[in-house]
């Protein structure tokens, strides 16, 4: 029996050579992706994962892991295996997006045209 400075360890009466069987696959359950909303009106943000046996427990662990500080009003969890993703190897599908200035407000220089017009009217 372990003699410890820690009274909790003494109370637990632990054998020193307590060999145990290795943890089996899924002993720690599957994972859920956690989305956290700080306050009403904000987007839910992905914050990480928890291991849980079901959605109820995932919500409980999600609250403990990601909602124990600061502001929180809501949490979502989704099983990792239910999330569909694009591939980083395919990220070139986004390559031309920054070039599409016609989708941006900044792509339209109206004042340039107006000022130029005003000059011609005055002249």
């Amino acid at each position: 029996m372990i003699k410890s400075l820690d009274p909790r360890v003494n109370r637990a009466e632990i054998e020193q050579e307590n060999t145990i069987a290795p943890l089996k696959e899924l002993d720690q359950w599957e994972t859920y992706e956690v989305f956290h909303q700080k306050k009403r009106g904000d987007q839910h943000m992905h914050v990480g994962i928890v291991h849980a046996p079901n959605a109820d427990m995932a919500l409980l662990f999600g609250k403990e892991q990601y909602g124990r500080r600061g502001l929180s009003v809501n949490i979502w969890v989704v099983r990792t295996r239910d999330v569909f993703t694009t591939d980083y190897d395919d990220s070139d599908i986004f390559d031309t997006v920054p070039e599409k200035q016609y989708r941006e407000a900044g792509g339209y220089k109206v004042m340039d045209k107006i000022n130029k017009y005003k000059k011609t009217v005055k002249a």
Binding site: I2, S4, L5, D6, P7, R8, V9, A12, I14, E15, Q16, E17, N18, T19, I20, P22, L23, K24, E25, L26, D27, Q28, W29, E30, T31, E33, H46, G48, I49, V50, H51, P53, N54, M57, E64, Q65, R68, R69, T80, R81, V83, T85, D87, Y88, D89
Partner: protein, 329 residues
């Protein structure tokens, strides 16, 4: 809280890159050089994956084991407010362990495999937690100075190249700032208190100084191996640089309180701007990390006991349609 998974300076560099596709390796290194992060499913060299798993896993184990010497003082912390604060700190440490296990999992090692390697003694954790916390003052010194060392380490590593580890560390560093402030507050209370309290905190500091000096790991000369790991932003600073940074930030704060550091050779060398100190006893460090410390056996037995007594609960909750896939990020 953090255990520094130091890289053995004697490990051979030759063969690290053997068998890697030169073009993929070049693309990988270019990405890191541009300051971009590596994400879980990206191509990475075998050695990058191996060292990151080892480092993040050891870091996670340190959080879990570190909760033991601190947790023992929860019931005996002086006053309700300190009990609450210490409980919050210990819960944070366990939470950090979970965040780190998740980051390591994205590299392909399951949480079960990591826990198995911890409880059989195959994986290491920070050596400081193989020492006991004799008095309340020990718990205060741990919370202040071990967490201070941890922050230096973690802030450096948060700028590393692996996305999931950086994200976990950003979260962790935010919480550690409370731990540091809480620990400092407790040490200041003792150091500015009665002669008995001052004596208590000085004795705790004397006990913890050698493990604190060990904390950053043995002196690491820039070997070929470390050079590659630093280029890959797996290792962000040498052990000696981090130890110097710690001394620079905290020795003056210790002296401010009229406490002494149990090393007659400790002083700042005005010529070099670096701290001189007595070389820590690295033989003791090796002996303790390999199992022969005052608390190694107890720490692992307690962990095994917790896993074993909780096993039926975990099994009862499990469902047959569970299916594990590697976490996304």
């Amino acid at each position: 809280m953090y255990g520094n998974a130091y890289i053995d300076p004697n490990e051979k560099a030759a063969g690290i890159l053997a068998g890697e596709d030169p073009q993929k390796l070049a693309e990988f290194e270019a990405r890191i050089a541009r300051g971009e992060k590596i994400e879980p499913k990206d191509w990475m060299p075998k050695e990058y994956r191996k060292q990151l798993i080892r480092m993040i896993e050891q870091h996670a184990h340190s959080e879990i084991i570190g909760a033991l010497p601190e947790g023992t003082w929860i019931t005996r912390a002086p006053g309700f407010k300190r009990k609450l604060a210490l409980m919050a700190k210990v819960q944070d440490e366990v939470g950090h362990g979970q965040l780190l296990y998740s980051a390591a999992e994205t590299l392909g090692k399951s949480r079960e495999a990591m826990i198995n390697d911890l409880i059989t003694g195959k994986s290491k954790y920070s050596n400081v937690f193989n020492y006991p916390a004799f008095t309340w003052a020990d718990a205060c010194v741990i919370a202040w100075l071990i967490d201070a060392g941890a922050i230096i380490n973690q802030v450096a590593n948060a700028k590393g190249s692996y996305g999931p580890y950086c994200r976990a560390l950003d979260r962790i560093c935010t919480e550690e700032s409370f731990h540091l402030k809480y620990g400092h507050d407790n040490v200041v209370t003792l150091a500015t208190g009665s002669p008995v309290q001052r004596k208590m905190v000085q004795e705790a500091l004397n006990r913890w100084w050698p493990p604190i000096m060990h904390f950053f790991g043995p002196s690491d000369k820039i070997s070929n191996h470390t050079e590659i790991l630093m280029r890959w932003k797996v290792k962000m600073a040498t052990n000696d640089d981090m130890r110097q940074q710690f001394l620079n930030m905290y020795v003056p704060k210790i002296w401010d309180l009229g406490l002494t550091v149990p090393d007659v050779n400790l002083k700042k060398n005005e010529a070099t701007g670096k701290w001189d100190y007595t070389e820590p006893d690295w033989e003791e460090f090796k002996r303790v990390i390999n199992g022969d410390g005052p608390c190694n056996a107890e720490r692992l037995a307690v962990r095994r006991n917790a896993e074993e007594r909780g096993r039926w609960v975990r099994e009862a909750l499990n469902t047959t349609d569970s299916k594990y896939i590697v976490p996304l990020a």
